[in-house]
């Protein structure tokens, strides 16, 4: 029972993080039609900026987090303007571009800070007891912030003008442009939002687990799993996909005799779903 409770909390935290990262990946995929494989590297750099500001300069960690989010948001605008826009939605050129970005970012971090793993201190240290189980406050904070953010994002996408424009562009670029939607502006905002979400989740994850120059690669895999499972072009489906993958990642390694089987089961489930529904759980046809 206690193990199940801990797993549930972990599952929700992991799901929130996966959803935030995958949402950024999916935003770029559905709005610009590109694979941004550099998303994992952005996640890592955001965490490192928070770490650098908080640890070496000594700013309050929350302030450091906000500065880092602002910096990475600006970096997102830069990326859209100079790295993605010139290639106008050509998927395969952008894959090469994103690998170049990964190489530059990871190598810069390795050269300047070093390749060893380190840890970001907890945002709020301490634990809360639920009966016999104690859960660190950090996890609960992340859970709350993640939930608030997801609600805010859903509202942003469903209710606000820019969100509706994003959905329109995701559905059909050309028709959206014909309706007078500024595609480039939409794409720039989407990239900035994606980078900010990645920074936030990167900083939180590295306070829970560890921080290293290559943490982004694993997270990128998870984001891709979530996006494939939910289907391209469906932003709402990411919530369900993230919850499924997050809970599988939290429960399977604990309850299975061999943790390596967990990954295979996750992939097996996704392949099974894809065989039945090739477009993913909630995807629709994208030409």
């Amino acid at each position: 029972m206690d193990v199940a409770l801990v797993c549930t909390v972990n599952g929700i935290v992991l799901s929130a993080i996966y959803i935030m990262v995958a949402l950024g990946f999916a935003l770029l995929l559905s709005i610009m039609g590109i694979f941004n494989f550099a998303h994992g590297a952005i996640y890592m750099v955001g965490a490192f900026i928070t770490y650098g500001l908080a640890k070496t300069i000594g700013i309050n960690q929350w302030v450091a987090l906000f500065i880092s989010m602002a910096v990475m948001g600006g970096f997102g605008l830069f990326l859209e303007k100079f790295c993605f826009r010139p290639f106008g939605g050509k998927v395969f050129e952008v894959i090469v571009m994103s690998v170049a970005i990964i190489l530059v970012l990871e190598t810069t971090v390795v050269v300047t800070i070093g390749g060893s793993n380190r840890a970001l201190p907890a945002f709020i240290p301490g634990t809360i007891k639920f009966g016999v189980v104690s859960v660190s406050i950090d996890r609960i904070i992340i859970l709350i912030i993640g939930a608030i953010l997801l609600v805010a994002l859903t509202l942003l996408i469903q209710k606000s003008m820019i969100g509706q424009q994003m959905l329109a562009v995701a559905q059909d670029r050309e028709s959206a442009a014909l309706q007078g939607i500024n595609i480039n502006r939409t794409a720039a905002i989407a990239t900035a939002v994606a980078c900010i979400l990645a920074t936030l989740s990167g900083s939180f994850m590295s306070s829970l687990y560890y921080l290293g120059p290559f943490i982004g690669d694993g997270m990128l895999m998870k984001a891709i799993e979530v996006v494939i499972l939910s289907g391209i072009g469906s932003l709402g489906g990411i919530l369900a996909g993230g919850l499924i993958i997050g809970f599988m990642d939290a429960f399977l390694p604990v309850y299975l005799p061999n943790p390596l089987v967990a990954q295979a089961i996750t992939i097996g489930v996704i392949i099974g779903i894809l065989l039945i529904r090739p477009k993913g759980l909630f995807g629709h046809e994208v030409s």
Partner: protein
């Protein structure tokens, strides 16, 4: 007419001369006393050229696969496990590995053939991850992350026989792929890539063509994987990870996706960056050079490295034209004054 024919003949002769020259250089290289390190690097280049070209073969039918290293992994482990556990000679297990990869690629391609474009790319990427996960589950046989050791060697310890073997293998594979591309079946694939609905309206079974194309590409990937296993003798799943697939894809893109020679040039240039620069600058700065090459190709050479001469010609022509117009403008400006 006659002149055209003469030009065509001349071009053929130059082409043949270039091939012969390259072949002689490659044959003589180990005798010229290059260090064993470069022989090792060149063997890797030969193997990866086959990988990249086979990826382009799959791409001919309009399918962009990002799980090519997964197919390589299947071939490598099949051959290694059979030769290690049954003690068969690698000469037998390498073809078996390639054939098993062919069959697996064929079976996998059947459900994949329902998908097109981005969806195919996503799912193929996922196929690569699935192969690794399955590999890690059967850790007792495959060694998982810690690696598999004690695989039989194809030749002795010396690298020279491997060099000639891989060179021959590369030439044979490239020849077959070249013939395939410019044969009827290659044309069919190109038709499918251009428009699947038009292709099927002319009586092409486009799903079947794409399955066959993926399976043949898989055969070459499995062959390379099997040879790789018996050359490096140590296998680890990390060699065949997601980023290996991405890098193979990048070699193809950088070389130029539209030309048969693109993948060859791209693989050679990008794989030689590391050995050429490791004495010049610190090891950890080398990824910057790699990224620089990628950025230059992306921004300046839309047709990849293969399109470099054509692009240079365009630039010089443009420059000359600008000079000319500048000159003309000057003349026009001066005219009333004089």
């Amino acid at each position: 007419m006659l002149k055209n024919r003469f030009l065509a003949d001349k071009r053929k002769i130059t082409k043949a001369a270039i091939y012969a020259f390259l072949l002689i250089i490659l044959l003589l290289l180990p005798k010229l006393g290059i260090s064993i390190y470069y022989v090792h690097i060149l063997i890797g280049v030969f193997l990866y050229i086959i990988m990249t070209s086979s990826l382009r073969l799959i791409n001919l039918s309009g399918q962009v696969s990002l799980g090519h290293a997964g197919l390589m992994c299947v071939g490598a482990y099949t051959s290694a496990i059979i030769s290690k556990n049954l003690d068969w000679t690698p000469w037998l297990t390498i073809p078996i590995g390639a054939l098993v990869t062919f069959i697996i690629a064929f079976l996998v391609a059947i459900p994949f053939s329902r998908l097109r474009g981005l969806y195919f790319t996503m799912v193929s990427l996922f196929f690569g991850m699935a192969v690794l996960a399955i590999n890690e589950v059967f850790e007792k046989i495959t060694g998982g992350q810690s690696g598999m050791v004690g695989i039989q060697r194809l030749f002795g310890v010396s690298k020279i026989p491997y060099y000639y073997f891989c060179l021959a293998l590369m030439i044979v594979c490239l020849f077959i792929m070249h013939r395939l591309e410019f044969s009827r079946i290659g044309l069919t694939w190109k038709a499918v890539a251009q428009s699947h609905s038009v292709a099927s309206s002319t009586g092409i079974n486009e799903a079947r063509q794409r399955i066959i194309c993926f399976a043949i590409g898989g055969f070459f990937a499995g062959l390379v994987g099997a040879v790789y296993a018996h050359y490096y003798v140590v296998l680890s799943v990390t060699t065949f990870g997601f980023f290996t697939s991405i890098y193979i894809f990048i070699y193809m893109m950088v070389g130029g996706i539209n030309s048969f020679y693109g993948p060859i040039i791209g693989t050679t240039v990008l794989l030689l960056i590391q050995p050429l620069f490791h004495n010049v600058i610190r090891e950890k700065y080398i990824p910057f050079i790699f990224a620089g090459v990628l950025l230059i190709v992306l921004y300046l050479l839309p047709k990849g490295l293969f399109g470099l001469p054509e692009q240079l010609r365009l630039w010089t022509r443009k420059l000359r034209r600008e000079e000319k117009t500048a000159l003309q403008e000057e003349v026009i400006h001066r005219a009333p004054r004089n």
